[in-house]
Amino acid sequence: MKAQLFEKNVAITGIGQSEVSRPSTKSAMRLSLDAALEAIADAGLQRSDIDGIACWPGDNDNGNPFSPVGPSALMSVLGLKVNWYGAGYEGPGPLTGLINGAMAIAAGLCNHVLVFRTIAEASGRLKNKGASALTNKTVGRDGSYFWQWYTPFNVMSGVNLMAQYAQRHFHDYGTTSEQLAQIAMTCRANAVRNPKALFRTPMTMDDYMASRMISTPLRMFDCDVHCDASTAIILSRTDAAKDGPNPPIRLEAIGSALHQPWSWDQISLTDMACFDVGRMMWSRTDLKPKDVGSAQLYDGFSILTMMWLEGLGLCPRGEGGQFIEGGQRIALDGQLPINTNGGQLSGGRTHGLGYVHEACTQLWQRAGERQVTPHRVAVAAAGGGPLGGSVLLVKE
């Protein structure tokens, strides 16, 4: 018997996003409310219709700016009466809240789930520049299964781990900095057309090459930009989605697989989780990579976007560098527009749900000056290293 494809019973019916600021004068809770209420209204729903709430990773660390608002706080402030709620770091990357929310609907627990992601790293870094250092994730000795193998060697930022994948890709496949530059330059070109993006001054190859080296071969322009923002997505049971004002965007297929250890140095350096995720996603649909009209691919670091292109089969393995060379293929008017709002590199590190928000914005043709050719199929993926999840979206 073929496994039940639970996600096909779930659709996105509304989206919302707060201001994206560096920093914001609003509280993280206020940003969360701005996003949530906009999304609920966009779906044509009332607060009382929402019977589930999910996010990733949730407030599991004393209001840490990486995730200052969790579902328990937001449901209480909104006065929601939910049948199910949940959050937690340990899942398939920044899309975990979306995937869990979809499962709650498919399991019959909820009709409409509010999925959100709030981040306040711009404010956090104003108070303490080292706030996001990995060495500050634990107090005293590091007993974390995740980080203890890295922090004693002065790995304080994920960039030191992503750079290992980049260096190996350069070595194995002949990828160059000039090729990788196209991720940052494409995001910037798209951000120029997005009024909400944080960095909107055009970027040349010379600008990219002149940007400060952070962790070879990754430069400052290969790293995303901290912000304060909240993004919200409404998931609905497909038969409850038909009455809304927007054409439902079905979750056609989900990728959440990890067939390797949860580790930044034990997984395949050229695969990360991306290939496991991509294989799973495509096994759950009859659609093919050539059907994808736009792709919103995690760019916490530029190299990850290139590896998602490969992992999701949007270009052949090892050929990410050649695929993006020159930038034409991935431009707004190219064969596969990517990160059409400027991504996290130029738009702001909304961290995960921003990709889903932009995918829906494009599918619903609300993208204004950055609107690409109308299409029905889009993909969003988020994560790096062992973290990874993807969702294939189809507009009805």
């Binding site: 203890q148 004693p152 290992q164 350096l269």
Partner: protein, 139 residues
């Protein structure tokens, strides 16, 4: 600079403290005869509990690396090299460390390295330096 140090447990202490006797200890399975890392009370390959630390050669090669230029905290001396080292004892057996005793710009993938220990309190960090006695494999 003071380093962040790991919390020692019965599973992990042999790895972090092997340097006290000049040994790099890696978990080894007595059933399937394979090394694995990070250390755990069970073999991830064959699920045997017949596992324990075993000293390895301490020699290997750079599987990948990066030169970190950013001072993430004020007293962090930069630049320095973060690398993933694959040990000579078993294909794919690797862990993350630092490459020392070489100019950061000179580190390369596949470069032969050998372990050298740096003591901090009750932890002996296994770092790696260039190993001129190993022939570079022409893989």
């Amino acid at each position: 600079m003071k380093r962040k140090l790991p919390l020692l447990t019965p599973d992990t202490a042999p790895f972090w403290q092997g340097g006290a006797t000049g040994q790099l200890n890696i978990c080894h399975c007595g059933s399937c005869q394979r090394f694995f890392h990070p250390p755990a009370p069970i073999c991830p390959n064959c699920q045997s509990f017949k596992v324990g630390p075993r000293a390895v050669s301490g020699r290997g090669k750079v599987a990948s690396f990066t030169v970190n230029h950013q001072a993430w905290v004020p007293d962090l001396p930069v630049p320095f090299v973060v690398a993933i080292v694959e040990l000579a004892d078993q294909p794919g057996l690797r862990f993350l460390s630092n490459i020392v005793a070489i100019a950061p710009d000179e580190v390369r993938i596949d470069m032969p390295v050998r372990v050298v220990f740096e003591q901090h309190e009750d932890v002996w960090l296994p770092l790696f330096e260039p190993d001129t006695t190993q022939k570079k494999e022409s893989a």
